[in-house]
Amino acid sequence: MTSDINKASSRQVTNRIDVKWVNLIPYLTLFLLIIVTGILQPKIFSLNWLGIKTDAVLTLVLATIGQTLVLLIGGIDLSLGGVISLTNSLAATKMADNLPSMVGISIAILAMGAFLGAINGIIIVKLRTQPFIATLITWSIYGGIALWVLPTDGGNVPQRFISSLLARPAGIPVSLIIIAVIVALWLYLRRSPFVSSVIALGSNERSAYLLGININLVKIQVYALSGFFAASAGLYRTALVSSGSPTAGNGFILISVAAAVIGGTSLAGGKGSIVGSIIGAFILKLISDLLIFAGISSYWSALFQGLLLIIIIAAVSITELVKRQEEIKR
């Protein structure tokens, strides 16, 4: 008898969906959105426009990357909201206007992000807690610390810091370079032992264990990485909005999951890619830009985000239900 009785309690649907086709959807969607945006705003085919977009979306991209890694092992990271808030607040208050301080604080913040993320992993592994609860706890604590560091929006960000991160060396935006580097790293590391372990763990924890993977260590490492990326997102945001906010990160939690899922990451783990997630982030940004262009005030944006997320997950869920029905019959 199978343990997945869920599949039995759903309707039987007869069409079969080809897996390979599904992988192309994020790319096609992005392409379509660019076309539509191009028609409505002919100025886009310039490096400047691209730079504006990548600058604006990099925070989300970084947050999504961290979330993607966690989703790959079948978990979820709510605490990235707290980490982004905290790192943003710290950067906005502690950074002094000299090079050693900027570099030093940045490195310290990134290291701290990894540490904060690792704590998630430790709680999950040592206390055998669900990722949702563990990261809920840390979200609360980190957010609280952020409020203590910076009670209200504000802070003082060194001008040089801002301009260096928003610079355009030879016309190419720094943010674009960062994204390009990340994509390159991912393509290179995609088949490395670590990433293979992560995917194996997320796809079938039992088999991963039997294959000799150190499950606990990989989990902690993944959450540490997520913390690292969240910290980098917070750091970048400091430059982008040239200020700090103790609640900056809260909005990113849901969107990072949405972006990852749009990009093809499965909530159950074992499936996903960084490139897809980056595309997902861009898709969300373009959609929200289009909405603004269409005159829909930004007040409504949360509604669309939530709706979009639910629709996508519903579609994925239904696909999975269908697949399971097919599997029974095998």
């Binding site: 008898m1 039987q12 670590f194 293979s196 088999s207 294959l211 150190n214 029974i328 095998r330």
Partner: protein, 493 residues
């Protein structure tokens, strides 16, 4: 050849178990379900830690903290449930975690595919498997072949094959047996676990038999025969172990299926179950017995017709099935039959809540009365119905599951391997219970992996193979040999 020895001392699933295998031999491990073979092997492969005892390899003590230690020390295991990652490709799975191919943390794809192809050729794989395909796309047989290649390719010192042939064709099996022999001849240790006596006789040098968690005998293959091995496996039978089969079968048909289909799993199942009959269902695992039972209970929705007492019925969910008087005693009491955190009473009343409800509230007095009553009838060893189920023994827990379904006042019972993991004494009680129910006129569909049970408890037996009923056996044709023959698709005598 160096003499290699390994010994275990263990408790619980394994009670002070010893096991010794030598270099250069294929050593078979036999035993019924639950005898301890899998536990032993899992300890050796590092998946489980023993409570006590030790392992030595070539005189050296082994401390295994996990599977990675075992793999590193040269213990390779082909697992019964397979250890593949479905989303990764065949090649990725085969070379998973091997350092020799990585350069600068990156693994070249093409090298992997070529290496995989090379391996297939080197070991003479009978099937053309595409190294680029994801394991999830492969059939069960192909996956098993991949798992075997994966383990062999690492050239382990100790090769453990745990039911490695369950999905293989006859040619595949011969191929594997040849490979095992070659391995042993090279001086390695091969441990071979299988239910199939034929394979064991062909390939093994020595055999160890386990029963109830201990080693009950080691024999050289040419100094023993099937009968002796089987009797070692089953042990001395308790006198009166099986109940006397009174004639209880009536003429009227209780349950009938016509062309029951469910994709590949069920391919046109037709059978008739009479009132007062215990109809056994036999066959190897995965031949459709699970889908059949689940379809009859409404967990799956199969195509085809089901008739109860001659009337066509539609069963779409378990509550409908219960309403028609059909009850299922499921395979796994831990995940399907009982909620261990709740009390006996709360577990038993779950299916009959509707009957016990008075103005939206549970009639506690009636609940208690019914539960205490059935506890007495089935002789469930517990002081009060409020005791948590998790505190009961396995045999008692199984009785609680049966009792729970009996409370629904079923006329047709679907019993799926209900004596698994149950002690001998309780088994006898259960056999008598089943016959008793038949005597009262109930119709029982009885699936068991123990052939002895099928022959001795059931009036007739249908054997399933490839989603169909392969044979119907009763009277003179109801023999152990015929069940086995039909299970593998051969004609019965």
């Amino acid at each position: 050849m160096e003499k290699v020895s390994k010994s275990f001392d263990d408790v619980k699933a394994l009670v002070d178990a010893d096991f010794i295998a030598n270099c250069g031999e294929v050593h078979a491990l036999l035993g019924e379900n639950g005898a301890g073979k899998s536990t032993l092997i899992k300890i050796l492969s590092g998946a489980i830690k023993a409570d006590s005892g030790n392992i030595t390899l070539s005189g050296k003590h082994l401390f295994l903290r996990g599977p990675s230690d075992a793999i590193r020390l040269g213990i390779g295991t082909v697992y019964q449930e397979l250890s593949l990652i479905p989303v990764l490709t065949v090649a990725d799975n085969i070379f998973f975690g091997q350092d020799s191919i990585t350069r600068f943390g990156r693994v070249s794809i093409h090298t992997l595919y070529d290496h995989a192809q090379e391996l297939f050729e080197r070991y003479g794989l009978l099937e053309d498997i595409d190294p680029k395909a994801t394991v999830g796309e492969l059939s069960l047989r192909q996956r098993q072949l991949v798992e075997i290649i994966k383990v062999i390719a690492r050239n382990p010192q100790v090769l453990i094959l745990d039911e490695a042939t369950s999905a293989l064709t006859e040619d595949d099996v011969n191929w594997l047996l040849k490979l095992a022999r070659q391995f042993a001849d090279k001086g390695k240790i091969v441990i071979y676990i299988s239910h199939r006596m034929g394979e064991v006789k062909e390939v093994a040098d020595r055999v160890t038999v386990f029963r109830n968690g201990s080693n009950v005998g080691v024999r050289s293959i040419n100094e023993t025969n099937s009968d002796e091995l089987v009797s070692l496996m089953l042990g001395k039978q308790v006198s009166g172990y099986f109940p006397v089969k009174h004639a209880t079968v009536q003429n009227k048909i209780a349950l009938q299926t016509r062309q029951l289909c469910l994709g590949h799993a069920l391919q046109g199942v037709n059978f008739e179950l009479r009132w007062g009959e215990v109809l056994g269902v036999g066959g190897l695992a995965g031949q459709g017995e699970v889908p059949l039972f689940l379809s009859l209970f409404g967990i799956y929705r199969a195509d085809g017709d089901i008739f109860i007492d001659g009337k066509l019925v539609k069963i779409n969910k378990p509550s409908e099935s219960l309403r028609y008087g059909i009850a299922l005693v499921p395979e796994d009491r831990n995940t399907q039959g009982l909620i261990s955190r709740l009390s006996i009473r709360e577990n038993m009343s779950l299916p009959i809540l509707k009957r016990l409800t008075r103005y939206l509230f549970v009639n506690r007095r009636e609940e208690r009365r019914l539960v205490v009553n059935v506890m007495k009838n089935l002789r469930i060893k517990a002081d009060r119905p409020d005791i948590l189920v998790m505190n009961l023994s396995g045999g008692n827990q199984q009785k609680v599951v049966i009792a729970k379904l009996l409370l629904t006042e079923p006329k047709i019972l679907l019993m799926f391997d209900i004596t698994r993991g149950v002690d001998v004494g309780t088994k006898v009680e259960i056999f008598n219970l089943v016959r008793g129910l038949a005597a009262k006129g109930n119709a029982i569909l009885y699936y068991s992996t123990t052939i002895d049970e099928l022959v001795n408890v059931c009036d007739s037996v249908v054997v399933m193979h490839d989603g169909r009923i392969e044979a119907e056996l009763n009277g003179p044709t109801l023999t152990k040999e015929n069940i086995i023959r039909a299970s593998v698709g051969e004609k019965v005598k």
